[in-house]
């Protein structure tokens, strides 16, 4: 049995189709990532799976329970961490944790081994009000609270948004260790670079799933040749590259532009077509998940 099974799930808010016939499944013990920009429908999907919303059509099962019929059963078996900081800012770290333990009818001590890797880092501040914690620490507290009842399945909606780079990396390491406890984790992120931390990912855009695979396999599905180009005048370079016939796409990517072209398009031809440009530098690049995403998004 799959831990999470989603079939043709749709949800509309007024004129906005937040989710459009989404289908995927998550194996037990898997760290599954939903990767996509804001407005991709990730939060709506989480709310549907966490039984906070009812779908317009389609169905989904979480831990074998239907999200509409058995929603009460699901609520005691999943841990849910919404995208926004959703703890009580006026309560201390420890009070928050104890409250959520009581909410699920468990003792903090009984789950301490599970939350310890996360909670130990914020334990020195346990008497501090949650509102006064840094972004990274808030997320650690929220994760501790979501884990307190040893859920089988963990829903994390953009847990690393607004968190500094070091804390983000630490956070993913914690997810790694949780997976070793056999927990199924569904996590969403707008950061493409975090996708490689997942076992499998689903690329989402505008309420649709563009594709599902392991991060490595997804990257291999990139079609065409990819070059990283740069010059002194980056904007002029972008405009020039986009005018060349045979160039499928060219977009800013970090400090360079990524240029996608057909298999028959080589570096020399590219240099010739671009013409003389001060500081022009062209080199082949490895496709990343972001490149795949951009390619699929345009279809």
């Amino acid at each position: 049995m799959e831990a999470i099974e989603v079939k043709g799930l749709s949800k509309r808010f007024g004129a906005v189709q937040a989710l459009d016939a989404v289908t995927f499944s998550v194996h037990p013990g898997e760290l599954f990532g939903l990767i996509g920009p804001d407005g991709a429908g990730k939060t709506t999907l989480f709310r549907l799976l966490a039984t906070l919303l009812s779908p317009d059509s389609g169905e989904a099962r979480v831990g074998g329970c239907d999200i509409v019929r058995d929603y009460r059963a699901i609520r005691s078996r999943v841990g849910y961490m919404p995208g926004r900081f959703s703890l009580y800012g006026d309560l201390t770290v420890e009070e928050n944790l104890r409250f959520f333990a009581a909410l699920f009818g468990v003792e903090v001590e009984a789950s301490y081994d599970l939350i310890a890797p996360v909670y130990r880092q914020i334990e020195p501040f346990r008497r501090r009000r949650a509102a006064k914690l840094s972004g990274g620490m808030k997320q650690k507290l929220a994760l501790s609270c979501a884990l307190i009842h040893r859920p089988e399945i963990l829903f994390l909606d953009e847990p690393t948004t607004g968190v500094d780079a070091v804390s983000r990396s630490e956070f993913w390491e914690m997810l790694d260790s949780l997976r070793q406890h056999g927990m199924t984790i569904l996590v969403s992120t707008p950061y493409m670079d975090e996708a490689s931390r997942c076992d499998r990912i689903a690329l989402c855009n505008e309420g649709r799933v563009l594709g599902i695979d392991t991060p490595e396999a997804l990257v291999r599905r990139f079609e065409g040749r990819l070059y990283a180009i740069r010059a002194d005048a980056m904007f002029a370079l972008l405009a020039a590259a986009r005018r060349i016939e045979g160039v499928e796409a060219c977009y800013p990517f970090g400090e360079t532009h990524h240029l996608v072209a057909g298999a028959d398009f080589d570096m020399r031809r590219l240099a010739r077509e671009l013409g003389p440009m001060p500081g022009l530098h062209i080199e082949p690049a490895e496709a990343t998940i972001e490149d795949v995403f951009i390619q699929w998004m345009k279809r």
Partner: protein
């Protein structure tokens, strides 16, 4: 499940205790309102300054003036001439002028022996404050005529609140207002705050039933309201001297019923409002205005246009304030105000039922 309920209540209590400013406001508002309405804003007749115009200062005139001097609701400002009446009133140096007829003594005797007479005393009042002027005129008539006045056709006796102290009248009104403020506004804001901050999402995705979430929220606010209730009653009794002759038990019982009703109203608002600001606005528009206008707190229900009299029937404060007035001032017992009690009970039941039903365990 018991442990998570008590920890819920504990958590709500912590929220309230940590929000010092709100706590202070909640406890201060009743005190300020009581003092304000009790002393500063009054429609009672106090220190009405009176000048007298009398062509001849006969024994009868002196007797009447003596009665004014002795009465501490009036201040006698001396005798003036007829041409000074208008300037004195206009400059506000006096509030009222009593003009005695030239042959006051003789005509008064004739009147006593049964001969019909034209008016003997003319009262001229500054009516820029209608309430005070009306009351002062009535009072003045009584005082000037004296108790054994032969011309008295009516005998008026003010029962329950013989000095017509406005504080007596306002205390029940303030109570009707304050409990809505504390209970309804604060509960609705606190529930909506959880919606706004996203904690409601986490609460809902837990095995705890929404019913318990709500109940746990209501308990601390109910407790605070009880403290406020005791505070108000103590102030009313010992600071303003409201008689409370109907018995404290009945006043308490009726007030507790009204508290529950207010909490239910707050809950209902929280199911409609999405933001704290909206909750506040709805509370203010939907609750405060009708209470001020349609509850009889300030304007008597009987004076309202017929249509608004009907509308006022659905304002819970109307029934509560009515019951409180009768119990605190008239000395009515619980049994005497059973109609008010029954209406409040039915309203509370209805509101609780509707809001529990409306309180969704999903986000939509």
């Amino acid at each position: 499940m018991k442990s998570n309920f008590t920890s819920f209540v504990r958590k709500e209590t912590l929220h309230i205790l940590r929000d010092r400013r709100t706590m202070l406001i909640v406890l201060l508002i009743p005190v300020v309102l009581m003092v304000l309405f009790g002393f500063a804003i009054s429609t009672e007749v106090n220190e009405v300054r009176i000048a007298v115009v009398a062509p001849e200062r006969t024994d009868g005139v002196r007797e009447a003036v003596e009665r004014i001097v002795r009465n501490d609701s009036f201040a006698f400002c001396g005798y003036i001439t007829e041409d000074r009446i208008d300037p004195m009133l206009r400059t506000g140096r006096v509030d009222a002028v009593a003009v005695f007829a030239p042959d006051y003594d003789r005509r008064r005797l004739q009147a006593a022996s049964g001969t019909p007479q034209p008016p003997l005393i003319q009262l001229i009042l500054d009516a820029s404050n209608v309430n005070t002027a009306g009351t002062a005129a009535a009072w003045l008539q009584g005082v000037l005529l004296g108790e054994a006045s032969p011309q008295t056709l009516f005998e008026t006796r003010m029962l329950f609140n013989p000095r017509m102290k406005s504080a007596f009248n306002f205390v029940p009104g303030i109570m009707g207002l304050i409990f809505i403020l504390v209970c309804a506004m604060m509960t609705s804001v606190s529930i909506v705050r959880e919606k706004e901050s996203g904690t409601m999402e986490v609460l809902l995705v837990s095995p705890v039933r929404p019913f318990r979430i709500i109940l746990a929220k209501m308990i601390p606010y109910f407790a605070i309201s009880c403290i406020v209730l005791i505070l108000i009653l103590l102030l009313a009794r010992y600071l303003l001297g409201v008689p409370m002759s109907g018995g404290v038990a009945g006043i308490f019982a009726m007030s507790l019923l009204y508290l529950v009703l207010s909490l239910a109203l707050g809950l209902l608002v929280s199911t409609i409002a999405r933001t704290q600001v909206a909750a506040l606005l709805i509370s203010a528009m939907v609750m405060l205005l009708p209470i001020l206008m349609l509850s009889g707190m300030i304007f008597p229900i009987e004076n309202l246009p017929r249509f608004f009299q009907w509308v006022s029937a659905v304002v819970p404060a109307r029934w509560y304030i009515d019951a409180m007035r009768r119990m605190m001032i008239q000395g009515a017992s619980m049994a005497d105000v059973w109609v008010d009690g029954a209406v409040l009970l039915a309203m509370a039941g209805l509101l609780l039922g509707v809001s529990f039903r409306k309180f969704n365990d999903k986000l939509e």
